[in-house]
Point group: C2
């Protein structure tokens, strides 16, 4: 029977013992020529694409306008935060993959949804540039159904427990506010943008 | 004379030598009860607020509708990425500060703009929950002028070189796409949300 994930212990980890991440000491010269030190974390998994990760904005639509434009968000326990987090589907780019291929693969694994059309790929984005070297792309994928939103089975890896939730885009901001879960910052910024545009529209009409 | 910042050297840093960040080895039990290991980076600077950082969405408006609703974004060199990055104004929460106080302080330091009204504070957000323990809030602040957008002097700390740029919200997505700089993922997600809402409006009318 499923139980709630939990932390057993947390201890300092030295870079020379770490498999997935490392700390870097960056010596740099500022705009006056003065030498300074910056400390940053780095993923060890970046491949030849030069891209650590992708997040996926799935645009789920009906061929017959039978339901509102929707997207899919996921809930999963994240040990670094020790909480369930609501995020866009996302994952690391495997060696030999493009960002778009990784996005299509991760969307199917985490949600079961199959996309046959890439609607947009951002330029390379800095994930948290004050603290890490991590980078990512946001890939917008189209998912089409005829009349109703289907729910194909996920293809989760062993040990993964991900709950997917389909939300109409126009309700996303409100649903994120109403949930008891912690929200990923990037997903939340997207939702704030959606909501802000609604207010801009109201104020200009 | 100002020169372009540059990297002098990058080397592995052990957690026991790091001042600002650390690596953590997290032993956790998944939903089946199986013990697993997660590696994460952590800031050492979190104070009693429990909040690492804030980002600031400044809503710059005219008392007399003399200019469109605007916001301010900043450009600065980020050693972890070795590039100039475009971000929302942001900063760490100092000990004894609330998130809102930190936001008002950082906005004035980085842009010169003084806000007297907090329009919105998000719940605590997970910055990059697969890789770090970092958390943040997005604080929306009002900045009002009568007829034109003023440009008060920044209050930068020694060694900081930050260029501010005021952008109409309705042009933000296009301006970020057009710039040659790398964009912070959170700012970009906000801009994608703004733009997506425009398309939703067009498709429903």
């Amino acid at each position: 029977m499923a139980e709630k994930p939990s932390i057993v212990s947390v201890q300092d980890l030295e870079t020379n013992q770490a498999k997935w991440v490392s700390l870097k000491k960056i010596l740099w010269k500022d705009h006056t020529g003065k030498q300074r030190v910056w400390e940053a974390a780095e993923r060890r998994t970046r491949g030849s694409s030069g891209i650590d990760a992708v997040a996926i904005l799935a645009i789920i639509r009906s061929r017959r306008d039978a339901f509102p434009l929707s997207t899919v968000i996921i809930e999963q326990y994240r040990p670094p935060i020790d909480k369930f987090i609501i995020e866009l589907p996302a994952g690391l780019v495997d060696e030999g993959e493009t960002a778009e291929q990784a996005a299509i693969r991760e969307l199917e694994e985490e949600t079961g949804y199959i996309s046959k059309k890439v609607l947009d790929s951002t330029a390379l984005l800095a994930t948290d540039p004050g603290m890490t070297t991590a980078n990512m792309k946001l890939i917008t994928l189209e998912v089409i159904f005829d009349d109703k939103i289907e729910s194909p089975a996920q293809k989760l890896e062993e040990g993964e427990a991900i709950v997917k939730r389909v939300v109409a885009l126009k309700s996303l901001y409100r649903e994120l506010k109403a949930t008891g879960f912690v929200v990923d910052a990037r997903l939340n910024h997207f939702a704030v943008g959606l909501e802000m545009a609604e207010r801009l529209k109201d104020s200009s009409s």
